[in-house]
Symmetry: C2
Subunit: 421 residues, 2 copies
């Protein structure tokens, strides 16, 4: 396709999405749930077809020399397909956020004013190789009453198109327009360039993937973006911490999983408790295979640590590595977090009431925690149901983004012929 063809093609998708978003916006909860269950059934019934389409992508990927990690992300198998279907059923079971009205109240003028929760409209999802995102993201957007335009990685195109067929079958059976979920069928990069600037047809972009993808889209998009950048998360062990809780939380936050954005990457320890806790903690980390990189004061207590460099304080390792710094007190801990952190998730371990509340108030992160592992920062753990991502932005949606983050509110005014004086 030429660039002009792509522009025309994307504009057509956009126009169709806008049109479909109006049907979805007024669709009853039962109809949306029916569509989700029908899609889940279609996916399960199409297991063979999905595997065959995925095999094409995998073969091409192998031929193109994709590395093992990428091939793993690209792969569908019977279990992953069942998980996709199950995810859609879970979304169907969530309460519908659309149409809820809050704070309806009479004003002195006689009008009643409140706010109604409504869909955003059209959501553009840009993602990389995982084909399951096609079903997960479309499902969440559908439940929130939004139309979606999905642009997956070119290496997953056959898989994504096969999943889209199941989605369309499900929408059709529920009586909703197929254009409610559209997969971009060209792998040309110009399609992304067009998508992120179609302000007339697209209300918000949700990019999912590596940091370079997110940064590029943020720089170039004129459509607003809900995004996740880094997770440089901290655990601060205060000198009034309970020793056992501190050991538990600090270990869990780092070692429960290494590759996730809510894993702790820096441990801050108050000077007053460092001598009594750091050596034992270092031993336990070491037993778990975690490499420690410490400041000078930390290394004085645990000489086996590698010295930390300035870069270590802002590094998202996503690996069994942990930066360790001894700080004088809560003030220095907060200062460190505000200077080097990514405003994602930070935790304090303390028994001190005032310090716990100061930490909650003053640390400017999407999740702040007392005596709990940073690994809890997750849509399911928070009770939001599935999440479309974790936002490190401050506007609109912050932290795990579930159905509510895919909606907005408008003002509703009821009068009886009221006019302004």
């Amino acid at each position: 396709m030429t660039d002009i063809d792509i522009q025309t093609y994307m504009q057509t998708l956009g126009r169709q999405a806008r049109q479909a978003s109006r049907a979805l916006g007024r669709a009853e909860t039962g109809v949306k749930n029916d569509a989700l269950l029908q899609i889940a059934a279609a996916i399960e019934q199409s297991t063979e077809r999905l595997l065959a389409a995925n095999e094409k992508d995998l073969a091409a990927g192998r031929a193109n020399g994709l590395d093992a990690a990428l091939l793993d992300r690209l792969e569908l198998n019977a279990e992953r397909i069942a998980t996709m279907a199950e995810g859609l059923r879970q979304i169907a079971a969530l309460p519908d956020p659309v149409g809820a009205i809050r704070d309806m109240a009479y004003r002195p003028s006689g009008i009643q004013v409140g706010r109604m929760r409504v869909p955003l409209g059209v959501v553009g999802i840009i993602y990389e190789s995982r084909p399951n995102v096609t079903a997960d993201a479309a499902g969440l957007c559908l439940k929130a009453g939004n139309a979606t335009i999905l642009r997956g990685g070119s290496e997953a195109l056959h898989s994504n198109m096969a999943i889209a067929e199941c989605i369309h079958a499900g929408l059709r059976r529920a009586g909703l327009p197929e254009t409610a979920v559209q997969v971009v069928e060209t792998t040309d990069r110009a399609a992304v360039g067009e998508l992120i600037r179609m302000n007339r047809y697209v209300d918000v972009l949700v990019p999912r993937g590596g940091k370079s993808l997110i940064e590029r889209i943020t720089q170039e998009a004129t459509v607003p973006v809900i995004k996740h950048l880094d997770g440089v998360c901290h655990v601060y062990i205060d000198d009034r911490a309970d020793r056992e809780k501190a050991l538990q939380v600090a270990l869990n936050a780092k070692t429960q999983r290494y590759g996730t954005c809510n894993t702790a990457e820096t441990l801050l320890v108050a000077a007053g408790i460092a001598e009594s806790i750091l050596p034992e903690l270092a031993e336990r980390y070491s037993a778990a295979g975690v490499e420690l990189r410490g400041c000078e004061r930390a290394r004085a207590l645990v000489p086996s640590m590698r010295p930390a460099t300035e870069e270590d304080w802002s590094e998202e390792y996503l690996a069994p590595i942990l930066a360790v710094r001894i700080v004088d007190d809560l003030d220095q801990a907060i200062e460190h977090i505000e200077t080097y952190g990514s405003h994602h998730t930070d935790a304090i371990v303390t028994e001190d009431y005032s310090r716990a509340w100061r930490f909650l108030r003053e640390v400017d992160s999407s999740s702040v925690m007392v005596n709990a592992s940073t690994r809890f920062a997750d849509g399911f753990e928070y009770g939001l149901g599935a999440e479309i991502g974790i936002s490190t932005d401050k506007l609109h949606a912050r932290g795990p983004v579930g159905l509510e983050g895919l909606t907005t509110e408008k003002f509703v005014v009821l009068g009886d012929g009221h006019i302004r004086r």
Copy 2:
């Protein structure tokens, strides 16, 4: 100043604002209120000085040939100064949104999760000639716990600096850092270019002014923008409308004030009621001095109307002109609003329950109304207190933006040594 000097200067303002935002974020409600009252007092006590500074701007404006409307917006007088001070006192009287926690609940894992309302951080305000914005915007941001960087029009620089002195005096007396409110002291345009791309130091931009200013900033900014573009507002008179209410609402929405964004610019009338209501309505509009521009069907009933062109349907007149179209029914009315409207404020006049609810659900505007004048779309009328603007965006803040729109929420997690399994 050279461009490099300006960059350094703006970065310094940014760093100072970020620093001050932390002091403001943890400031007690009483301290913030005290600052607002102190600033109000300082403004009143400085009336002479403010008038003198303003006279400099006015003299320069006259010398530069500014038009009468612009000079009027630029002018301060004793009454306007008193209004500024009164506005600050009203902001002091509003409830503090910061720190409120909602939906705190236990999760199956044992942690408690809720959301805490917190300041956005640093707000950049870019505005044109009205010097009162300096006090209004800074006051609202201050109450919401944000630091501000204010960039007013170059023609109002002396006035703005004089107001800033009062603000600094008030902040000082309340024990808050003066850098909580900073006025950009250069009129170089490069300063704006820097401000709108300082993502590290500025969390959100609120441009206030004409459409070209807003569009330029939206195109060039990498910092998120809360903005107001057009107000192409509609009143739809359904054929099940109460005749008297319809006359009242349609007249008030257009004629109560012409230059405001929530003034109706297009009147839609259902074919079934047009013959009985449009001629009388046309007479009343005519008596009020409003020029009507109608579709063919409207002109068949009121031949004195000028014919409307396609452009009229999307025009924000801000003047005593009204476009009039006869539509078949509610569906065509909604279709018209979605096609030509600006998603600001739209009203239906009807006694029909189902149609009223369909209109509320399906019209995708920041305010939707039944049997009430569009002129009610306003922060004061809605009970938000003062507003920093009316957002026509969908994300974060939609409709009148008061204190809540200048804050965000973060997740708060309370545990007792809880770890993720």
